[in-house]
Symmetry: C3
Subunit: 262 residues, 3 copies
């Protein structure tokens, strides 16, 4: 294991640059997640924009520092906006994060996710169930690796895979699962980290760590999922280098551990 | 009064089964209510889904354990989705809750509410004003009773009527009225209770009691409507058998008290 | 400086009438802001309504006590609803507040904002950047003054200009900028104040003061932007005459200080 791949120093640098650069992330995300996602970005020092209008979205996406495409709920208006925003971000060379929410339950979302992936994105964030539906064979996943797309596979532990290397992280709180849209908001944090860190592995591992360490600190101060929301936003706002140093839970940083995550 | 109709033991059983079975409730609800409704269901141990897309909604509704149809705001997309979801839930035999928000101010919502009621729903949740508009004569309400639709009429006290029996409950907090979407979220809780309790009277009385007892506990810890939101979610998450026993406010459980509620 | 133009007594009167009259404000606002805006109005004792449906919106706007038109995100459905609501409010003589969010980034929003302004609104709330795009020459701003439109220009200090008079206020908290939709919610508060106070200058200065004094009190109790949200709603709910007296930050109340704000 090479602890040079991802460590507290790298993580601290990403958080500092987030606050310094204040990247604007254009978020095409589901209505349930919009307000919380905007507040997560603001608490971190980043800036959200959210318009879905087809006559505006390309301009907003091209001028942003990153784009989040979340397929949850996928109302027709957002579906129409997504290709315009993705094309604009690609042409402008901006990082794109895809979160293929519930593709296992919707053939139309699955088709759209595959189409977006085929054109190339910076990062795919999914859980194991969504991965299995998107990549029923391993060849598809290998192709994804060739396209230089970073993978974040969330679960009890979180795996980040990019360019033949893997980081496994063990931060977080079970309370996160009892608040809606926490996974969706993580997608926006990942886009913000990609906007300030050129190495996708470090950016992705930093985004997961920042969000999940803040969640741990927040859960320690919460009675339940209701108080977790304000506590998590406060924790993201107050997070400092010492917190990151003390709480970072790197289980592995080095070669690929598990072929199934490719 | 027969206290066998609804009592703390019945209520405790419903809460235990909610947490054990984790029913998924598909919610077609207004945009203002979506996030809070999702968080209320999650805090209780249930699972929300919310898509409105016409190509997805029937599948999501049929595979859910219950359906909430809330007419607040009624944007065109949701209006198009509602009949598809209602048909799918009916065919799959899943409980349906209708919340006819503001039908007194919108003829088109009123017409849609009547159309849905004519086809049969498991539970109608409304306030007195909405009831008066939906049922200007008593015959309509009698027909509803024949369709085996449970009624929840909210107010200073809450009435639940089903199959010739009535429960009147006196829990809650005045602060609930100063937070948006609390009534809408109650609709989702009612659907979740119907998913785990076959007797609609007990299910409905349990849903009202769980929500309103949690609100009482939360109000005791709140300075105002802002802190009520996290406190209410925490209270739903932490609610235990003793709380239900101590706070349950059954004013009546037995024969129909008041013909006007039919 | 004439401190008769706007002082604590005038402000206290507006807050008292808000709570007594409970004006209903119809809000055509962006999805990210809807829930928070509704909760801000409810915490103050006002009543929100939010439907965007083209078959309902004119009726809801005409029967409300005020209308908020916020151009953030501007999805097609809201864009279609806005002219109907504005016409209905104008014909019914109800106050209209326009918040031209991000017109500097969207030519189509800018065109719509100019069209609404040309027809006359009670109050335009904007920041300096939006003002510069809406009024590249001063003649446009002079025309606005002739139309009896009050201006609220937000910034480090907030300027209110109406009918040759100006109030400059210095309340607020930097934390407000790290919570989404706080400026959007202020627009709804301004509409509520116009519904209970006939002098647009006093109404606008009261709305800004109520919101920003509550924010100061809330920030003193907050660890970060997460806790600010419940604290701000509690503070709006608990705000009393003494708070307003002690905290009101009038920098100027009298003649126009700065021609650029016209």
């Amino acid at each position: 294991m090479s602890d040079r791949i991802f460590d507290a120093a790298g993580l601290q640098g990403v958080l500092a640059r987030l606050r310094q650069n204040a990247p604007r992330i254009h978020c095409l995300t589901n209505p349930v997640a919009q307000t919380f996602t905007a507040n997560v970005l603001l608490a971190l020092g980043a800036v959200p924009s959210m318009t879905l209008s087809v006559d505006e979205v390309a301009g907003f996406a091209a001028s942003a520092d990153g784009l989040l495409v979340n397929l949850g709920m996928l109302e027709p208006e957002r579906r129409a906006a997504i290709p315009l925003a993705v094309d604009a971000a690609r042409q402008a060379g901006k990082p794109i994060v895809l979160d293929p929410v519930f593709v296992q339950r919707s053939p139309s979302r699955c088709a759209l996710a595959r189409e977006i992936l085929a054109g190339g994105v910076s990062l795919l964030k999914s859980n194991r169930e969504e991965m299995d539906v998107l990549f029923p064979d391993r060849d598809g996943a290998q192709r994804l690796a060739k396209q230089e797309t970073a993978l974040v596979v969330t679960g009890a532990e979180d795996d980040i895979v990019y360019s033949g290397r893997q980081v496994r992280l063990a931060n977080g709180s079970p309370l996160l699962a009892q608040v809606t849209a926490t996974g969706c908001a993580l997608g926006a944090v990942l886009a913000a980290c990609l906007a300030v860190e050129p190495d996708p592995l470090i950016a992705a591992a930093s985004g997961v760590s920042i969000f999940n360490i803040a969640a741990e600190l927040a859960a320690d101060r919460s009675r339940g999922p209701g108080s977790l929301v304000p506590e998590l936003l406060d924790a993201l706002y107050l997070l400092n280098e010492g917190d990151l140093q003390r709480h970072l839970g790197v289980v592995h940083a080095g070669d690929i551990l598990d072929r199934r995550t490719l």
